[in-house]
């Protein structure tokens, strides 16, 4: 196997900073698409966020969805939707808009135990709307407060421009995942929030490593013109490219394994992770670093202008 040594900067011809406007436009376009989708379709909220009950039944053999609906209708418990799940299509997931009482869940359990025997196993979750709204707000506030904390830390350790650029990239990644789930109308549940929060952690981690290199290279470079800064950023990205790619690859190994093998419970979780990881790796190089460069460049020009006049 021949592996390319990305770190050998001489091999990389690509100019990362030249096309930065294009990256901004591309990301802006996807964000716009996501915003439109959010406005038009919204999010497909699972029962963690809208009130109702989700019942998962392990049946242990294949079954007919239509028949299930008919039988549930028979006991006045017609679900809003029935989804077949499980590797062997031996599970049914029922969703109800209303909150089922424990007696009603017992009724459903009774129905299936009678029909398919004792191997039947039932899981149910019910949420009151007040509590779910609280959950979403809590997550939202958490990210906001975490962002402020990160800005403070990075400002102290690095500088304000780095901090804000890193936060923009972080929000960009979180939004990418939300947009993806809105466009494809995938169910948003509590683990999804955990996934978005993981992305937040990963994204900042990934960005800081590149920023750290930019900061280091700036120390040794004689920066006089905007082009000098461009060179520093370009080289820093190239020097950390092998790490950027390898790290996202290894985390992706785990996320893909979770996605394929992890089972229903965390399928959406791992999908959110996948999208976010890719976006996180992309944004560190193509959004965070470029934003910083643009900002730094503007500040330099302004300073020059001031000293000239």
């Amino acid at each position: 196997m021949k592996l390319v040594n990305f770190r050998d900067v001489r091999h990389i011809k690509f100019d990362f900073v030249k096309h930065r406007k294009k990256y901004f436009i591309a990301s802006g376009f996807i964000i716009l698409l996501g915003l439109l989708s959010l406005l038009i379709f919204g999010l497909n909220l699972g029962i963690d966020f809208v009130s109702g009950t989700r019942v998962e039944i392990f049946i242990g053999q294949a079954f007919d969805e239509g028949e299930i609906i008919k039988e549930l209708k028979g006991i006045n418990l017609e679900p809003k939707s029935v989804v077949t799940a499980g590797a062997e299509n031996d599970r049914a997931v029922l969703r109800y808009d209303k909150t089922l009482q424990k007696e009603e869940i017992a009724q459903i359990r009774g129905l299936y135990t009678e029909k398919f025997g004792e191997k039947v196993d039932v899981s149910a979750s019910t949420v009151d709307p007040t509590i779910s709204r609280e959950l979403a707000w809590k997550a939202f506030y958490s990210v906001l407060i975490a962002s402020i904390g990160i800005i403070l830390y990075v400002t102290i350790r690095f500088e304000f421009r780095f901090a804000v650029s890193a936060i923009v990239a972080l929000l960009h990644d979180a939004f990418m995942v939300i947009a993806f789930f809105s466009i494809f109308q995938l169910e948003v549940d509590l683990p999804f929030i955990a996934a978005v929060l993981t992305i937040v952690g990963y994204s900042i981690n990934d960005t800081i490593v590149i920023f750290d290199r930019i900061r280091e290279n700036l120390k040794y470079a004689k920066v006089k013109k905007v082009e000098d800064v461009e060179n520093v950023v370009n080289n820093s990205i190239k020097q950390t490219l092998a790490r950027s790619i390898n790290t996202v690859l290894t985390v992706l190994f785990a996320a893909v394994a979770l996605f394929i093998l992890g089972g229903e419970g965390i399928r959406n979780f791992s999908l959110a992770l996948l999208i976010g990881l890719i976006s996180g790796a992309y944004s560190s190089i193509f959004i965070a670093s470029q934003l910083w460069l643009t900002w730094k460049g503007k500040d330099m020009e302004r300073a020059k202008f001031r000293s000239a006049s």
């Binding site: 990075v154 955990a194 800081i208 390898n246 093998l261």
Partner: protein, 410 residues
């Protein structure tokens, strides 16, 4: 020349690490407390509402929790988790296999016992009973019944005198249990409730009475129940995914980074083992999002290795010797890893502080993972690599994934 002292040191550490892992892994896996999403069980969040004319105080919350604890002991669930959330909420988590419908009924019912006359007038309440005084007994026909002791025999004697030859109904909440006719004036302060169909039913009622009435009204606002089978499916699948993901990471590290990659797989194994160990020490519960955070933590640990190894490669390419490349690479990568991990910990801390219980589990796992990875991936790798290099093993750049042609002349 290979210096065998150092190499032996290296081998000793590796053998010791793996022996410890091998000998105690069964133990660790048994000790890990699995969340209810992995082993079945249920979680209920109650909104606590005051009874008429009362208010919710921290005191009533505490009393409610202890009443709930006594009830759970009736169900026989090991290691229940009961938390007070905010001012007026209680979250209960019961993991394991048990009759979930029954548990719910037992937990949520106020269990207020009243003795009423024919007009529904309350003569006596559960508060008149001796605490922990309920038990079971058998009547002449060997039918089970519940025995009660009264605090004030005088009061009960008066009541039975007043209602002699008349029925007194005994209600548990709004359910009439039985309405015995008072046959005689009871002066001894002991009474019985008959009408129990089975011994178990009688035991349950006695236990409920002993647990006492709830001082509040509980409303279920969130519940999540997982069947034991569905839970174990989730566990099996996630563990399988974790193992395969880890093997892929190991292979990648060895193929790409060679000797340091091999060292990384050793320290990563130690990392996985340590995180699980710490989990059992902390008595933390491993949940599905927790496992996900754990696997992600592996990624973070690998990242620390990758950052260091890339630095070492860099130094090698610039023409340094292996030993000084190792030293410089380790030193220069440390700050980067430190800053990157600290920002992630910062984010996790905020999540822990503000998040709900599921998010908190995730945050704890992430923080533990990062801290442990710092020791294994940064210090562990450094020590092992140093022993190898100083032992004169793997002194060619090839072992580090660097080609001779890439090395610039000094």
């Amino acid at each position: 020349m290979v210096r065998w002292g150092r190499v032996t040191g290296f081998l000793l550490i590796v053998v010791l690490t793996f022996t410890t892992i091998g000998l105690t892994t069964d133990n660790v896996l048994e000790d890990v407390i699995l969340g209810l999403d992995l082993k079945g069980g249920f979680e209920i969040l109650y909104q606590v509402n005051p009874l008429e004319g009362e208010t919710i105080t921290p005191e009533t919350m505490k009393n409610t929790v202890s009443a709930l604890e006594r009830r759970i002991s009736v169900i026989g669930v090991a290691e229940p988790e009961i938390q007070i959330e905010g001012k007026d909420r209680i979250r209960i988590k019961l993991a394991g296999v048990f009759d979930q419908d029954k548990a719910r009924k037992l937990l949520g019912s106020p269990a207020k016992l009243t003795f009423r006359n024919m007009d529904g007038e309350i003569l006596m309440t559960g508060k008149d009973l001796v605490e922990n005084g309920a038990g079971i007994g058998y009547d002449q026909l060997n039918q089970p019944l519940v025995t009660l002791k009264l605090k004030d025999p005088e009061k009960f004697a008066n009541i039975t005198r007043q209602y002699l030859e008349k029925p007194i109904a005994i209600y548990l909440d709004e359910t009439m249990l039985t309405a015995p006719i008072v046959k005689a004036v009871i002066t001894g302060g002991e009474a019985t409730i008959d009408g129990q169909r089975t011994v178990d039913e009688a035991k349950e009622l006695a236990a409920l009475l002993n647990a006492g009435a709830l001082p509040v009204d509980l409303k279920e606002i969130y519940s999540n129940s997982v069947g034991a089978k569905l839970g174990s499916f989730a566990l099996k699948n996630t563990v399988k995914a974790g193992i395969i993901g880890t093997i892929l990471i190991f292979l990648f590290m060895i193929v790409y980074y060679r000797l340091p990659g091999l060292v990384a797989t050793i320290t990563l194994s130690a990392y996985i083992y340590l995180v699980l160990r710490i989990f059992t020490w902390m008595g933390a519960t491993l949940t599905l999002p927790g496992i996900a955070a754990f696997i992600l933590g592996i990624g973070m640990a690998v990242d620390a290795n990758i950052i260091t190894y890339e630095r070492i490669k860099d130094e090698l390419r610039s023409g340094k010797t292996i030993l000084s490349a190792l030293r410089a690479g380790s030193r220069r990568s440390f700050g980067t890893i430190f800053d990157a991990n600290l920002t992630t910990i910062l984010a996790a801390l905020v999540l822990f502080y503000f998040g709900s219980s599921a998010i908190q589990g995730f945050a704890i796992t992430l923080i533990t993972s990062i801290l442990v990875s710092f020791f294994t991936a940064v210090f562990g790798s450094r020590i092992l690599l140093n022993l190898l290099v100083r032992g004169n093993v793997g002194t060619k750049p090839w072992y580090y994934g660097v080609k001779e042609s890439e090395i610039s002349e000094l």
